[in-house]
Symmetry: C2
Subunit: 318 residues, 2 copies
């Protein structure tokens, strides 16, 4: 199985759930009657901001790290990440007792860098451009003989992210829609696959910032969009789809909805106020998209994966 | 049974749990391994900030409102409250379909006033001094023939607040300590009684701001302290113990620990950062007290009731 091309099966997702059960949190699903009134539909929030490292990323990272055979694991894991995935790999490697190296662009938020370092990973800085990230990553892989765990274009990672939706659908049967933010597409791929396998009537809908709409445009034109520079406050949503996640989303997604940064900030504030949850801007994009399209969701039962809560509390965007 | 003097029994608390089960949330208990490392003990947070109206107050209010016989209920409920209890009474009355009147001091935070009005209660303003609150409340009771539900000196309210600890001890067996903030003492009385009935080895410890230490001083001198003016950012903790809550705490509390406002703000920020939860300052006082007394809690299993999450997001105190 080549993790860069394999589409996770239901068995893969169930195996991931069993593998990470001793490691990851079963996060709560929360509701707010006032948010339901505002949105005109029934919203169920899967709280991955309450996951370890404060983001869903720990699911995929721990599934990938604990999938490695002993000999590969001993040489360590290498990844590139602007933040949450790096912290997740760092913690998963610490739990398995193996070395982690995270290649991090110099633009990454301080809070996310600190988390990676706290979990004991080696941080190797790189420039922001994808080409430089890849060059530095290849160099580290060559030096260490370690295993690459890509943040999203990886079947083990996607299967891990899918476990959030397994839990959501188990906790809330009968959803009409599941939504997640789209960046590299790992979370959305896992979300869409889990929903498809468990109940193919459920619509999987992605949400993307207007300023990082590569998935929206790529799916519309049937070809992956690469090389753009994202312009959004959603620091977790600046990646572009990979070949594997593009293929999965093309097959399994009902659509992608866009939200402006202003709409996302308003939705983020509603989540703080009404759900009493700390979320990062990226996590609020699906709610922003729901509020922008009230007729599309009127009266429906909608599950939303709140992707993460790692936000700089000294720079809240309101 | 006079609610102003009756000490709730375990049966009263269990009846409250059954009565409010269709109304209130069973809130999650959350942990953070990084907070455990910082505190040097095992912390279990009962998330009443995720309760309806954003605070534990809904438990006691709904238990009291749904305890009324039909004839009394029809004349409505009257209370005085600087905020969360008022919103909780308003929602409980709306759910029962009866009128609510809330006497509110002019100093109450905007966010809390808006919540009371949103739930359809009539708001009657009064001055901050307790004498004026009581005068206006008596006047409204005379006009309406309604039932008074005191925010804390009431057995029905205390039994309702106790249900949070029933749930906590069910979710986390074997706690050594349970803690809650102390203001009028309704939450702490319920917390201490539930712990005592279910496992008398559990220590019940209160937490109070240095600037509102009437319970600390009153319990130390064996006599209730009244008439002080509180000086703390914890807007939920400015009340003083009532005769009933004083008697219960005197019998059931192992002690009260103090925290400065600066310590409380630091603890509040840790709860935002590590637990990803929005809490109001009052809710952070127990964690602040734990961090101030590391030796007292070292290695122990501590349950903390996070009392509420209604904070002005435009004026976070850091």
């Amino acid at each position: 199985m080549d993790p860069a091309t394999h589409v996770p099966s239901l068995d893969d997702i169930r195996a991931a759930a069993a593998r990470i059960a001793p490691l990851a949190q079963v996060t709560p699903v929360l509701r707010s009657s006032s948010l339901d009134r505002i949105a005109g539909c029934e919203l169920h929030f899967k709280c991955e901001n309450l996951q370890r490292v404060g983001a869903f990323k720990f699911r995929g990272a721990s599934n990938a790290v604990f999938s490695l055979d002993a000999a590969s694991a001993a040489r360590g894991v290498v990844t590139q990440s602007s933040g949450n995935h790096g912290a997740a790999i760092a913690l998963a490697c610490r739990l398995r007792g193996i070395p982690a190296t995270v290649v991090v662009p110099r633009s990454a938020p301080k809070i996310k860098l600190a988390a990676i370092a706290d979990f004991g990973a080696r941080i190797v800085p790189c420039e922001v451009a994808q080409a430089d990230r890849d060059r530095v990553t290849a160099q580290v892989l060559g030096e260490t003989g370690g295993s690459l765990v890509h943040p999203y274009n990886d079947a083990r990672v996607i299967a891990g992210q899918a476990t959030a939706t397994l839990e959501l659908l188990h906790a809330v049967p009968g959803l009409d829609v599941v939504m997640a933010p789209v960046s590299g597409g790992g979370l959305m791929s896992g979300t869409a696959l889990a929903a498809h396998y468990l109940d193919p009537r459920i619509e999987a809908i992605g949400a993307e910032p207007e300023g990082a709409r590569d998935a929206f445009d790529g799916l519309a034109q049937g070809e992956r969009v690469t090389g753009r520079t994202a312009d959004t406050i959603c620091d977790g949503l600046r990646a572009e789809l990979g070949p594997l996640t593009f293929a999965i989303l093309r097959q399994r997604l009902r659509g992608i909805l866009l939200a402006s940064d202003a709409e996302t900030v308003a939705a983020m504030r509603l989540i703080f106020e009404r759900l009493k949850l700390v979320v990062e801007p990226s996590a609020a994009v699906p709610l922003a998209a729901v509020l922008r399209h009230p007729r599309r969701f009127a009266g429906r039962r909608v599950g939303i994966v709140l992707s993460g809560g790692n936000v700089d509390l000294d720079a809240l965007p309101w």
